[in-house]
Amino acid sequence: MNPIEEQGPSGKTLRLYVTGQTPRSERAIKVLRTICEEELGGEFELVVIDVLENPQLAEDEKILATPTVVKELPPPIRRIIGDLTDVERVLIGLDLLHFKKPAK
């Protein structure tokens, strides 16, 4: 779960901060991966950061809670915390509804 520093060609990235491999972390990763692939059609890159391995990255970003998702690009910057039980709420919270691809 090393962070992947290079971003996608569009720079569209979702960063997910988690603490170790807990069920809560796994759940958040799984949900966000599904969102990226199915709802957003692979347009966004998912970067998972384990704060236990990279506490300084959490310090730099002032992350308090885990899991936290941060969307920086495209603006506006949005954050959402929790293990992402509500997909619709995640899309609204991260201001991503208009990137949503029609269901296949």
Binding site: A28, A58, E59, L64, T66, R79, I81, D83, L84, R89
Partner: protein, 500 residues
């Protein structure tokens, strides 16, 4: 057997009150209303660690940004940025991100914050952690229950790391719940409460150790003050111990006849209270006391709260004493100021540091009762106790004056508070006789020594004070109602006692 050890904070007075310091390796909750100096104490805990003990620290801030804290602490002359550059201190910035509203979906914990704190503690090798203040995080995150249990986890982890933690919390009221959000329930091992109350229009800051589970501490409220360039200074009044040694060496009072009345002079480490109405000769007594000291080769110090230096010097010249010259030669130092410029706690701290700097053997305070004006009753009592203890600890001969409210005498608050801790009390009274005002003086008490019990008349001229004969044929001087009685009456009274 494992006992709770103490971790000295280095905050002046606090370690005395806390009987050694904060419980080592534990989390202590420091709770107070807004503006009660929580952040200063949290910062000072870390800064003194670096400066006095070479111990490293971590500052976790939930409220202000590190930049704001650096700036605020810089006003005390603490260069936090330099400590950071030397890897002695690190910040964990948990202050709110401006404009970032926190949205929640599902469950979460404070794992990232905990990882950051652990990382900071390990990377600088900290033994001290300050967390200031936990209130805002309850506002940032919607689930107070999660925040509470996560703070509990933080305090457990810090315990495992072996660091001593000071965690601050807001309270809404100076006398009420210990802290908001029920936080005292999980760090309940040790609780310190700060108060900043308004009493008789005067601010009074106090610190109270509510509990140190498994360890001793001073009980009750201790006043503290915030001194520029120093920080918080706790005044450990009730913790003052009567351990100073006692001297039987006599020192001249400055008036020969008074020495005789006291059985050979004052004791070297005694506190003397001189009480009298305005104009009765108290400042003259002070002047004689200082002159006597300087002639004896002692270093003397005067704290004047009623007259300016110029006035004091001019008046002393009138009695044939050159205070100004004595100061020039270096044996005397005069500090004159109005009591109103600061609170009594600040006066005490300043007087203490002035004494420590100059190292006097004699100190006169003229008048002590002037300070009644700037303190609440309780604050004043503590001040008097603190001052006399300070003099006794340093084995200084202290002479304090007290102005009685009425011309004929009576008692003052000062006398009520100080009389039991003073070793010697001298009363100066006006005596009205045959349409004339005269002055009388008596040694009311002198611990551990013979002293005269009579009331003597004294006069003042260009050479100072002259004590002469006793008032005969007058009764009721002390009560402020002198009455002349005839010789026959006096004889009758004397015979009455001889007969019985």
């Amino acid at each position: 057997m494992e006992v709770v050890q103490k971790h000295p904070t280095g905050i002046t007075g606090f370690d005395h009150v806390a009987q050694g310091g904060l419980p080592r390796g534990r989390t202590t909750l420091l709770s107070g209303t807004s503006g009660s100096a929580k952040t200063i104490i949290a910062g000072q805990f870390l800064v003194e660690g670096v400066r006095k003990f070479g111990e490293k620290g971590v500052f976790v801030t939930f409220e202000e940004t590190p930049a704001e804290i650096r700036k605020n602490l810089a006003s005390f002359g603490w260069d936090v940025a330099a400590f950071e550059a030397d890897k002695m201190l690190a910040f964990v910035d948990a202050s709110p991100v401006f404009g970032a509203e926190t949205l929640v979906s599902g469950s979460y914990d404070l794992g990232a914050l905990i990882a950051r704190i652990e990382h900071a503690v390990n990377s600088v090798g900290a033994t001290r952690v300050a967390i200031d203040s936990i209130g805002p995080i309850f506002g940032q995150l919607p689930d107070a229950h999660v925040v509470r249990s996560e703070l509990l986890r933080i305090s457990h982890i810090l315990k495992q790391l072996g660091v001593t933690t000071l965690m601050t919390a807001e309270r809404t009221d100076d006398f009420g719940d210990i802290a908001r959000y029920g936080v005292e329930e999980f760090v309940s091992d040790s609780v310190i409460v700060l108060r900043n109350t308004l009493e008789d229009e005067k601010r009074r800051r106090t610190l109270e150790i509510l509990k140190f589970r498994g360890a001793g501490h001073g009980k009750g409220e201790y006043p503290f003050t915030i001194v520029p360039e120093v920080g918080v200074e706790v005044i450990p009044l009730s913790a003052i111990e009567l351990t100073q040694s006692s001297s039987d060496q006599r020192i001249p009072s400055g008036v020969e006849e008074l020495d005789e009345m006291c059985g050979g002079g004052f004791f070297r480490d005694s506190v003397i209270l001189v009480s009298g109405a305005t104009g009765a000769g108290k400042t003259l007594m002070v002047t004689e006391f200082l002159e006597g000291g300087v002639q004896n080769g002692e270093r003397c110090m005067l704290f004047a709260f009623e007259e300016s230096r110029g006035q004091l010097f001019r008046n002393a010249i009138g009695w044939g004493v050159d205070l100004e010259g004595m100061e020039r030669e270096g044996l005397l130092r005069v500090h004159a100021c109005y009591p109103e410029i600061m609170g009594v706690e600040d006066h005490l701290v300043r007087m203490k540091s002035a004494m420590d700097e100059f190292g006097p053997q004699r100190v006169a305070v003229d008048s002590l009762s002037a300070l009644e004006r700037v303190a609440s009753l309780k604050g004043y009592r503590e001040f008097v106790l603190g001052l006399t203890a300070t003099m006794k600890e340093r084995e200084i001969a202290g002479l304090c004056t007290s102005t009685t409210p009425s011309l004929t005498g009576g008692t003052t608050i000062t006398e009520a508070h100080i009389s039991t801790i003073t070793d010697t009390i001298i009363l100066m009274r006006y005596v009205e006789m045959f349409g004339e005002i005269r002055r009388g003086l008596t040694v009311l008490k002198m611990r551990g020594s013979y002293h005269e019990k009579v009331i003597r008349e004294f006069t003042i001229d260009g050479k100072g004070m002259h004590i002469s004969k006793t008032f005969r044929n007058v009764v009721g001087i002390l009560a402020g109602q002198p009455q002349n009685i005839g010789t026959d009456e006096l004889e009758r009274i004397n015979q009455m006692f001889e007969a019985s």
